[in-house]
């Protein structure tokens, strides 16, 4: 049932069928009808690199959440806020929907994504397919659009500029950690070869 279709790929944006060909290293295939990305030839060590980057990002994520993002000095009073602290103060003020939205998009989804990706890639590296790798990869792919660390970093920068008008502000450790986290998440997502991971996971199914 699968054999006959194994070398064909359908465009996800216009449904046109293409025969898969072996691309030169680093090349990307696009749909001839609508131009959507079809597949690419990833580096042979792509998922090895993705694992390293996801692991580094997981550590930075912990740092980014443990330390204050910004500190502020106003009339001799010093205040600082961590990401979770900021969301909690929104919650306490009654803006519960907004607090939940912030928590989900900047803490929950990125955490699941990073830990999940590290987990799946580490299992694949050891040649294991069990341990929930399939549902985990499935789950990460579906929540991916809701991780918004890069938007959050820009939001913090805008807030810093606004605050600089009324008080003296200093960027905290977590702001730099979030900036680096944003780059690492993008790098691990770019390195991750999902096709290879699925092929490996489906090999024995």
């Amino acid at each position: 049932m699968r054999m006959s279709a194994s070398r064909l790929i359908a465009c996800l944006e216009c449904d046109l069928l293409h025969r898969q060909v072996r691309l030169p290293p680093g090349a990307e295939a696009h749909c001839i009808r609508c131009g959507a990305r079809l597949y690419r030839r990833a580096r042979p060590d792509a998922n090895e690199r993705a694992l390293a980057l996801a692991l580094a990002a997981s550590i930075l994520f912990a740092v980014a959440n443990a330390f204050p993002i910004v500190g502020m000095e106003m009339q001799g009073v010093h205040t600082s806020a961590t990401l979770f602290g900021a969301a909690r103060s929104l919650w306490d003020e009654g803006a519960r929907a907004v607090a939940t939205l912030v928590c989900v998009t900047t803490i929950l989804v990125p955490a699941v994504e990073l830990v999940g990706l590290t987990w799946v890639l580490a299992l694949l590296r050891r040649g294991q397919r069990g341990w929930g790798a399939v549902p985990m990869l499935h789950f990460i792919e579906s929540v991916k659009p809701w991780g918004m660390v890069e938007v959050f970093v820009l939001g913090v920068l805008v807030a810093l500029v606004k605050l600089a008008h009324i008080a003296s502000v200093e960027p905290g450790v977590a702001l730099f950690a979030f900036g680096a986290l944003m780059l690492l998440i993008a790098a691990s997502a770019a390195a991750f070869d999902a096709d290879a991971a699925w092929a490996q996971l489906g090999a024995g199914a």
Binding site: M1, R2, A5, S6, L8, I9, A10, L12, E13, C14, D15, L16, L17, R33, C34, G35, A36, Y39, I69, V70, M74, Q75, V77, T79, A81, A86, A87, S89, L90, E93, A95, A97, V98, L101, V102, T106, V134, L137, H138, P145, W146, V151, F152, L154, G155, V156, V158, A159, L160, V161, K162, L163, H165, I166, A167, A194, W198, L201, G202, A205
Partner: protein
């Protein structure tokens, strides 16, 4: 135009998660991907209906999101309410032109452009239009990519409210528009996720 070889016409189902192609089963009921277990369907289920529903809900909430205050600032000099637009105007008049532009694009332009684009796309599919399918598909790709950036203002308010909070001299609180605006962003993301760009192409090649 002759009928192009698509997965649907050849009785194949493409998994939207792992991209594996498998033959559509003859029996009724939901098929599942043999590799990753995702539910398979030739087109996203009830694509147009869901897109319209999310889109209309987003349009309705867009009104309070822009007319109600997103941020209440209270200080010794009184209370001041800022809408999204007056926040942009404040940044502009205080000299932060680049930031004013960034916030304007993210909070005003992007949600509006996304809702207009989705309306055009959904209408064109509804009316079985055949004009510029490639451009329409590209439009869909663009709105999928930019939609998330409208969350910017939500994060700005979160940080401001958290910091200017305990001080007795001033305090900033999230206004009612914050929840409405967040809902607009979430609803437009659901709307574009429900839309199936393959519907744009399904009417191509049907003409005699």
């Amino acid at each position: 135009m002759s009928a192009a070889p698509t997965a649907a016409r050849l009785g194949l189902l493409a998994c939207e998660v792992c991209r594996l192609l498998s033959r559509a089963p003859h029996s009724r009921g939901t098929a599942h991907c043999p590799r990753c277990g995702a539910a398979l369907h030739a087109r996203k289920p009830a694509s147009l209906v869901r897109t319209w529903a999310f889109l209309i809900a987003a349009m309705i909430l867009y009104v309070p999101a822009n007319t109600l205050p997103i941020m209440d600032t209270s200080s010794l000099f009184g209370t001041q309410s800022n809408t999204i637009f007056s926040g942009v105007a404040y940044l502009w008049t205080s000299g932060s032109f680049v930031l004013a532009l960034v916030v304007f694009i993210a909070s005003v332009m992007v949600p509006l452009a996304k809702m207009i684009a989705l309306t055009v796309l959904a209408l064109s599919v509804q009316l079985r239009a055949t004009w510029h399918p490639r451009t329409r598909t590209r439009l869909y790709r663009v709105i999928e990519f930019i939609g998330r950036w409208s969350m910017l203002d939500i994060y700005v308010v979160t940080i401001l409210a958290a910091l200017v909070h305990v001080s007795t001299l001033a305090s900033i609180q999230a206004g009612p528009a914050a929840a409405a605006f967040g809902a607009v962003v979430v609803l437009t993301m659901f709307a574009s996720a429900s839309f199936d760009p393959r519907l744009i192409w399904d009417v191509m090649g049907e003409q005699p």
